[in-house]
Amino acid sequence: MAELKVSAIKEGTVIDHIPAGKGLKVIQILRLDRVNGGILLLAANVPSQKLGRKDIVKIEGKYLSEEEVNKIALIAPTATVNIIRDYAVTEKFNVEIPGEIVGILKCGNPNCVSNHEYTAPKFYVISKEPLKVRCHYCERTMEEEEILSNL
């Protein structure tokens, strides 16, 4: 079991099946890297049957809600989330792309006001498959490739 290479946690959240290389970004988006936060474990490039290679993030002492975890859906649509209580998985869910994306994605339009003024960039998801979002401010749409390069 690849997971055993990093220690199991007693209470908290395990985000599994993150595409390899995106683990750090997941930590940033969920703001798990603060000094006064709980213990955080990142396993990178773990062999995976489903993905070939994957990253895993374990967060001790914190239960992430589905809403919080959905923020990572754009970079890690394959991620699965396990809530751990007393070393056992008590809840399991897949991430889902939310209807609105606030604060984590930058607008790809250099002339969009959100790139020049103090404001949280906001997007409406107009299609999940293929992924397409519309900027709340400039109304321009972005597709998958552009979205990923602006995360």
Partner: protein
């Protein structure tokens, strides 16, 4: 829909009922103004016009509209003489100006500026153009003009001509026309075609669409020809530009092939898309559009101020 304090940012925020209500209100105000000469609905109210970019018609017609409603106007026509030069943010400019006024009209070079301003301000904000994104009051006055002349927008065959790729006017106009039962002819050079996602959106909404680069072949079908300026800077090659430019000049020779009742529209300013010889013909509707700017903007100011 509650109109008092509502922002007017994008045609996307409008339903057909909203649009029809604005057009009806504009019609009522136009008649009242003709009867009484001056109105007093907005007495004691102040409009602030913040124009960070140049404009002739939009700014003057908003100011004229506010005066016609009995209100007064403050503002600036260029950012050069304001604290923006000192680096003040749009956010702070709006927070300041709303202390002095009851409604704000904003034109700004950044796309989304009006949406941001509306979020910051407690008072209503009307978008008078945000970069290449939206110009909703132009669309409303275009629809008003068409409705006044034809009685109804439904059933018309409307040609959109010129730069359909970058032109904000044709984008918001076509979005609004999708609410009506119209047939659209998209006439442009290959490299300035309407973006695919907009064409798809229009088709999904049930609009019948014909795309062509040949104006002469469709001119006889149309009830309205809406011309726009082709911008030279969009072309990498001067010769290409000249070729395209030449094929989209609306002149009397071309109009011989058109229906007697065809109306030619243009948001202005024009360069040479419409020959001045057309001005005196029964086809010319572009100065009528300029006239419509005042009653439509009176309606929007009066409704958002909640004084009508």
């Amino acid at each position: 829909m509650e109109w008092k304090n509502r922002d007017v940012i994008s045609i996307r925020d409008f339903s057909r009922e909203d649009i029809d209500f604005v057009l009806e209100t504009a019609g009522r105000l136009e008649r009242e103004l003709a009867e009484k000469g001056a109105l007093r609905y907005a007495e004691g109210k102040i409009l602030a016009t913040l124009f960070f970019e140049p404009s002739t018609r939009t700014r003057l017609s908003f100011e004229s509209a506010m005066h016609r409603l009995g209100g007064s106007v403050i503002g600036f026509a260029s950012a050069a003489s304001t604290s923006v030069r000192k680096g003040e943010s749009l956010r702070d400019t709006i927070k300041t100006v709303e202390q002095y006024s009851d409604v704000i009209v904003l034109r700004h070079p950044k796309e989304g500026a009006a949406r941001l301003a509306a979020e910051v301000a407690e008072i209503p904000v009307i978008n008078a153009g945000d970069g290449s994104n939206q110009h909703p009051t132009q669309t409303l006055l275009d629809l008003y003009t068409i409705k006044r002349v034809f009685g109804s927008i439904d059933g018309l065959k409307i040609g959109l001509l010129g730069d359909l790729k970058y032109g904000r006017t044709v984008h918001s106009l076509s979005e609004a026309l999708a609410f009506y039962d119209v047939e659209l002819y998209l006439i442009s050079p290959e490299m300035l075609k309407m973006p695919k996602h907009i064409v798809e959106e229009l088709r999904e909404k049930g609009v019948r669409i014909h795309e062509t680069s040949n104006l002469e072949s469709v001119i006889g079908e149309l009830d309205v020809l809406y011309a726009t300026r082709i911008q030279r800077e969009r072309f990498p090659d001067e010769q290409e530009y000249l070729k395209v430019k030449g094929s989209y000049v609306v002149d009397c020779r071309l109009l011989e092939k058109a229906k007697e009742t065809l109306k030619v529209m243009h948001p202005l300013p024009r360069v040479d898309e419409i020959h001045p010889e057309v001005d005196g013909t029964k086809h010319a509707l572009y100065f009528r559009q300029v006239f419509s700017g005042v009653p439509v903007r009176m309606a929007l100011l009066g409704l958002t101020l909640g004084v009508l």
